[in-house]
Symmetry: C2
DNA sequence: AACTGTGAAGAGTTTCACAGCG
DNA sequence: CGCTGTGAAACTCTTCACAGTT
């Protein structure tokens, strides 16, 4: 919509977390920076992309700034999420309370394993993968979370995109190839450990 | 050690994944770039920080390049990992095979809940949190994975660092404050969804 | 001929430093 | 005075383009 730089978009949710921890009515860029462990000039630059919501000499109103970040991130409307692949990780995500906070509703759990279909995970029944397309349309699912094994992930991504999903959060340890206009975020747990390993060797600090 | 740029360090594990998918003996930067969905000049720049391991006119030897990336990332030695907080996510990680691949051994599962202590998760017994310090020393644990609720995460991080851990992978939805010399990587599942939300609104592509 | 390795240009990001407002 | 908002400087990262090697 407006064109917030990607680096800033990545940090706005971090500020939301820190704002939630504030018990004061206003917060300065310095204090928010301490909480978020970033530089205070960066906080001010980041927030300036949203507009001028601070008060000079005072700081930012916590409630108002929270609202403005949520608005800029598109968190004022509710998003329906599908989780595909109900193994250990998929089940954990389905049951994770933090997922359903802040306007995300898990409205579909899918798996191809007949033994899992019909079982209840996090208060919701697991459905057959064949129900995916229909559910995307009927329930307005807009984000697909892929927690299948690597071998199944591409096929699932193909079906998600064919059904009209334009945003995928991929936990499968593989790179998904999707059409233009579909955005994929990759979260690879073993990649994260490998990066930890690098910084264990060299004593320097990470980013 | 050598000083590989952070952006490159973040991508090297991605190349490892793509190299594992190669069935040919050699691979060109162009092909590796296709697999990893990045620009081929970026692949060549990234790999050039490791040394000159390509052959002009041919490409990179898959096995040799894999080894060189593993060496640069510190993956040729084994790292012992502790998981603290054996809830849904901690259990999923403990059971996740991909975690134990590539030289990571989960050698400690800790929780403060007496009901969980002594139960078996992913073939390993959950221990009392009070055993943490002793285990770090005796088993040479070097990476701490924090999967506790946000409220317990800072205390756990304090204990991990006091025990000598210098690398933390934090899944708790909070910012950890640690002494200099300790590196923390934050993986926040709900942050990831929020970023998806932003790119759903604006039709533009993410990073 | 095919492909790497890399200087140099370009884009994006961070940080500084301070003018300007409350 | 304290703190925001922002130009400008500094730095990092990406991409181009091509010389150089096999």
């Amino acid at each position: 919509m407006k064109g917030i730089p990607p680096a800033t978009v990545n940090r706005l949710p971090l500020y939301l977390r820190c704002l939630a921890e504030c018990d004061t009515q206003t917060v300065s860029s310095e204090r928010l920076a301490d909480l978020a462990k970033v530089n205070s000039a960066k906080v001010r630059k980041d927030l300036s992309f949203l507009g001028s919501y601070g008060t000079r000499g005072v700081g930012y109103d916590v409630a108002h700034l929270t609202y403005q970040i949520e608005r800029a991130m598109g968190l004022t409307k509710d998003w329906a999420v599908a989780i595909v692949g109900i193994g250990n990780l998929g089940s954990a995500l389905a049951a994770y309370g933090g997922f359903s906070e802040k306007g995300f509703a898990v409205l579909g759990l899918f798996d191809s394993d007949p033994a899992k279909i019909g079982t209840s995970v996090g208060g919701r029944k697991v459905e057959a993968l064949s129900k995916l397309e229909d559910a995307v349309k009927k329930r307005g699912l807009s984000i697909g979370v892929v927690t299948t094994p690597a071998s199944a992930a591409q096929e699932v991504a193909d079906r998600l995109t064919a059904a009209g999903i334009t945003s995928i959060l991929n936990f499968a340890p593989t790179v998904l190839h999707v059409p233009d206009g579909v955005s994929v975020r990759r979260v690879d747990l073993s990649t994260e450990l490998q990066i930890c390993s690098y910084y264990l060797n060299s004593v320097s600090a990470p980013t």
